[in-house]
């Protein structure tokens, strides 16, 4: 196999590191085309603005929450990608941040990435993460289905659901 060249990925990382030296906590290139950046949750909007305007990642393909009950934290992952810049179209940048498990809240990025609208609503109802500044933070999928706490949290168990 040919040697994988990661120059574009590293370029993005260097750009980010020089711009936000204090915000970026950890940087990882999982494999070619996947970059994971762990950052401080207070600076999400600046980072998103930079990613959109200067790095060219103009939309998010999804927002995922991951619950860690033992570490008392919820991770929120933003999967950002680009349509408009052909040379970085294949890269997915995963912006990862940690929130405290009780009273999880983070600033909304809908004003920057409009595509995050429904993803933020979904993460809100599945994990209870409050996106401050979201224009329309209502329940989306489980309106009549489920009236308990957010169902994707790990402490809500449905043991009958799986296998033996």
């Amino acid at each position: 196999m040919a040697q994988v060249v990661l120059s574009r990925e590293e370029g993005i990382i260097n750009q980010l590191k020089s711009r936000f030296p204090d915000v970026i906590k950890e940087v990882k290139v999982d494999r070619a085309r996947r970059v994971t950046i762990t950052f401080d949750k207070d600076h999400i909007q600046e980072l998103a603005k930079f990613m959109r305007d200067e790095a060219g990642f103009d939309h998010v393909i999804g927002i995922a929450g991951i619950d860690y009950p033992t570490h008392k934290k919820i991770e929120v992952l933003y999967f950002a990608a680009s349509f408009s810049k052909p040379d970085i179209q294949d890269i997915v940048v995963i912006l990862k941040t940690e929130l405290p498990r009780d009273n999880a809240s983070i600033a909304s990025v809908v004003s920057i990435w409009e595509s995050a609208h429904f993803h933020e609503r979904e993460t809100f109802e599945m994990f209870g993460v409050k996106f401050e500044g979201h224009p329309d933070l209502r329940k989306l999928l489980t309106l009549d289905n489920w009236d308990g706490p957010p169902p994707m949290l790990k402490d809500i168990k449905f043991p009958e659901m799986g296998q033996r």
Partner: protein
């Protein structure tokens, strides 16, 4: 004769006549005729509860052509429909709507539970937003397993339902 005795008299006779009509129509050729007409006019409601609708569409398609059995092309009006095919998973959110739809349908009405999810919850059984058994909502006449069932399997269920209607009492 006072009015009350007249009413009693009339009431008794009306009751007797209706008994005779019931016994006449509930047996023999008239019953056969009524059931035959019901058999050939099964109109399904088009409420797609989940993904089995793809195979429902395939059954309605040109290959099997259920109009041979009088299964009319999907009509929008609920009051004219008498067959409810529950096409797949019924979520708690949909169950409310499904019940409203069922109650609006014309009597006698028949229900086919199509697919595993309608029969028992299937792959998604005991999930937090699922109604496991459709028969908790209304009585089900035929269960079709399969995930999704082949269109032929659904048509075989309709043939089975017709068999049930043919043997049915007119005044149940």
């Amino acid at each position: 004769m006072s009015q009350e005795t007249l009413q009693d008299f009339a009431g008794v006779w009306i009751g007797k006549i209706s008994e005779v009509v019931k016994t006449l129509t509930g047996s023999g050729p008239i019953k056969y005729l009524i059931n035959w007409s019901r058999m050939y006019a099964l109109w399904p409601v088009h409420i797609t509860t989940a993904c089995c609708s793809a195979e429902f569409g395939a059954m309605m398609g040109p290959r099997l052509d259920p109009e041979r059995f009088g299964l009319q092309a999907v009509a929008g009006g609920l009051r004219q429909c008498d067959l409810l095919i529950v096409e797949g998973t019924v979520t708690k959110k949909m169950a409310k709507r499904l019940k409203i739809v069922y109650e609006q349908m014309a009597k006698p009405r028949y229900v086919i539970a199509m697919g595993d999810c309608a029969c028992s919850g299937g792959l998604f059984h005991d999930s937090y937003s699922i109604v496991n058994d459709v028969h908790q909502l209304f009585p089900v006449d035929v269960y079709v397993p399969g995930c999704p069932p082949r269109p032929e399997a659904l048509l075989s269920a309709i043939v089975k339902l017709r068999e049930k209607i043919r043997r049915e009492e007119v005044f149940a």
